[in-house]
C-alpha cells in the first residue's frame, strides 16, 4: 500500500504578520516556517496506518521554494519513507503566491499521479490562507472519491471506512473504495515527535525534487491585503496585573453584572 501525504509549510502561529510592499500578499521576510498543523495530523494518520497495516510506504509531498525541505525533513524524521519536493520559485511568476488554489492543487495532483498512490492524505485546511480546498480539488483532479474532516481511517478488504466530523459534535462513518483522498481534521490522533534516531535516519532518506509546471492563468485574483479594521470598540486595559484585576472586577460587578 502506498500513501502520499501532501503537506504545506506555513508561517508559525505566533509569527508577526505584515503586509508585503505591493499590498497584495504576506511579507515573508522575517517569517519562521513550520508544518501546517492539520497536515501534521494527516502525516500522523498515515504513519499509524502504516504501523497497523504492517507494510506500506509513506511518501510526503510538498510544493514550494527551497525552504520547504525543512518541513519535508521533519516528516521524514517522524517516519515518512521518502519525500517529493515540487520546486517553485521563491517569489514572482510561478511562485505559490501567484497561483490560485486550483493551480497549486494541480501541481500536487501531478506529483501524486506519478506515484500511483492508493491513498492520499492531507490536512483539511492551511493555517495561513485557510481556503480548505486543496485536498478536495486534488480528489476531483485525480478522479478519486474523497471525504473531508476525517478523524479515523480503517482499512477494509478493498476500501476504507472513515469516521468524519459533522457540525455541532456529530460524527459519521463513510465507506469508499481505494484509491481515495482524505482531508484530515486535527485531534484524531496524538502527534508524535521526531526522535534523535529519526532525525539521523532522515538524512539518508530520498528527497526527490521535481520541477513545477508553469503557472496557469489565475481564476481569482487577490487585489488587496490589509489588517482588519475593528468592528467593535475594544477597551484595552493597561497597568499592573493587580490594577487590571481591580478594573475588571469593577466592570464585572457594575456593567456585566455577574458578581
Amino acid at each position: 500500500m502506498k500513501i502520499v501525504v501532501a503537506v504545506k509549510q506555513v508561517p508559525e502561529r505566533d509569527a508577526v504578520v505584515r503586509v508585503a510592499a505591493d499590498g497584495r500578499g504576506l511579507d515573508e521576510r522575517d517569517v519562521t516556517w513550520t508544518m501546517n498543523e492539520p497536515d501534521a495530523y494527516a502525516l500522523e494518520e498515515a504513519l499509524q496506518l502504516k504501523e497497523r497495516a504492517g507494510e506500506a510506504e509513506v511518501v510526503v509531498l510538498c510544493a514550494g521554494p527551497e525552504r520547504v525541505q525543512s518541513t519535508l525533513r521533519e516528516a521524514l524524521a517522524k517516519g515518512a519513507d521518502r519525500a517529493v519536493h515540487v520546486v517553485t520559485p521563491e517569489s514572482g511568476a510561478g511562485s505559490l503566491g501567484e497561483r490560485d488554489s486550483l493551480d497549486v492543487a494541480r501541481l500536487l495532483a501531478e506529483a501524486v499521479k506519478a506515484e500511483a498512490a492508493d491513498l492520499v492524505l492531507t490536512g483539511l485546511q492551511s493555517d495561513d490562507l485557510g481556503a480548505g480546498q486543496t485536498g478536495v480539488v486534488m480528489a476531483e483532479l485525480l478522479g478519486v472519491p474523497h471525504a473531508t474532516l476525517v478523524l479515523q481511517v480503517e482499512l477494509l478488504g478493498n476500501g476504507i471506512k472513515v469516521k468524519r466530523e459533522l457540525e455541532d459534535g456529530w460524527m459519521q462513518q463513510v465507506e469508499m473504495p481505494l484509491p481515495a483522498l482524505l482531508t484530515v481534521q486535527s485531534g484524531g490522533n496524538r502527534l508524535r515527535y521526531a526522535t534523535l534516531m529519526g532525525i539521523k535516519r532522515a538524512r539518508q532518506k530520498e528527497m526527490r525534487e521535481v520541477s513545477a509546471a508553469a503557472a496557469a492563468k489565475r481564476v481569482d485574483e487577490v487585489v488587496k491585503v490589509s489588517p482588519p479594521t475593528r468592528v467593535k470598540r475594544t477597551e484595552m486595559l493597561t497597568g499592573s496585573a493587580d490594577e487590571i484585576a481591580a478594573t475588571l472586577v469593577e466592570r464585572l460587578r457594575f456593567e456585566v453584572k455577574v458578581l
Partner: protein, 333 residues
Amino acid sequence: MSNGVLVVLETKGAGWHRMSFEALAAGQKLAADMGGACSAAVLGEAAAIAPLAAELATKRLATVWMVGDALLAQYTADGWIAALAQLIAEVKPKYVVLPHTYQVRDFAPALATRMGEVLIGDVTAIQVAVAADGPVFVRQWMQGKLNAEYRHGGDGGVCFVSVQAGSFRGDAVESGASEVKTFAPTLEAAKIRTKPGEAFREAAQTVDLSSAPVIVSVGRGIGEQENLKLVEALATALGAEIAASRPICDAGWLPMERQVGSSGQTVAPKLYLAVGISGAIQHLVGMKGAKTVIAINKDADAPIFEVADIGVVGDLFEVVPALTKAIEGAARG
C-alpha cells in the same frame, strides 16, 4: 441570466441549516447590487424538499429550483456535484453563493474544479462599489490577522462564493413571491462512490454550555495542562462553566464536549472570558453571540481582540491569578 445569482441552500433534518438564510440574504444583496436576479436551489429527495421549496416561494426570488432525486436523499459529494453541475449548466448563473458549512466545504471546491473555476471560500463581506467592476470578496488570512480582497478573474465563467457563518443576517432575507420549478438531474447510483452512514454522537452530551450565563474559556496560550488549574480557579471564583478552544480538547486536556466553535458548541453567555485564545474564526463563530467578551492574550494582534469588549494584552500567568484573587476578595467584601 447575466449577473444572475444562484444560492444553493442546505437542509438539516426536515428543515434548514441555520446558515442557509444567511447565504440567501448574501445572494439577494449581491443580485441587487449587480442588477441581476436571484434564484435559489434546494436539493434532496423530492417529497422531503417540497415543503422547503414552498417556503422559499414566499421569498423575493426569480425562481426556486427544486432539485429532487431519490439519490439525493442523503448527502454525498458525488451526488451533489453531479446534480449542481447540471443545474448550473441549465440556469447559467454568473454567481453561485453557498453557506460555508462543513457540507459545502466537502463538495464545493470539487464542483468549482469540474467547471474550471475556483471557490472563493469563507467570505466575510461582499462589496460592490461599481457594478461594472464586479464584486470584491473579503476573506481572512492568517487566522483572521489579515483581510484579503479577491476578485473573480472574469472570462465569463461562474464565480463560486461561500459565505462565513454570521457574516450576513438571515433575518435580512427579503420576502416576495417566486415560482417553483422542478429540476430532475440525471444521476447514476454507480457514480456515487462513497457510502455514507447515519450521523451519530460519540457519547451523550453531559455539558450544555449553550445555556451557561458565564463562561471562562481557555486556549493554546495556557501552554501546559498543568496550568489549567489557574483557569479552573478563576472559573470557580466566577461561578462559571469552563470551556476551551479546539487545540485544548485535541490535546485531551479538557473533554471534547467543552469545546466552543464550529466543531463544538455554540454559546451565548452574558460574559465570555477568553484566556489565551487567539480567536481563530472556527472559534469565533461559536461565541460571537456572547453579550460581553473579555479577552486576555499576550499577542496584541490576536483576532480575539476584534470581538472583545474589554481587552488585556498581557501575561495570563500574572493577570489570571490576580483576577481570581480580586474576585474572591470582592465576593467576601
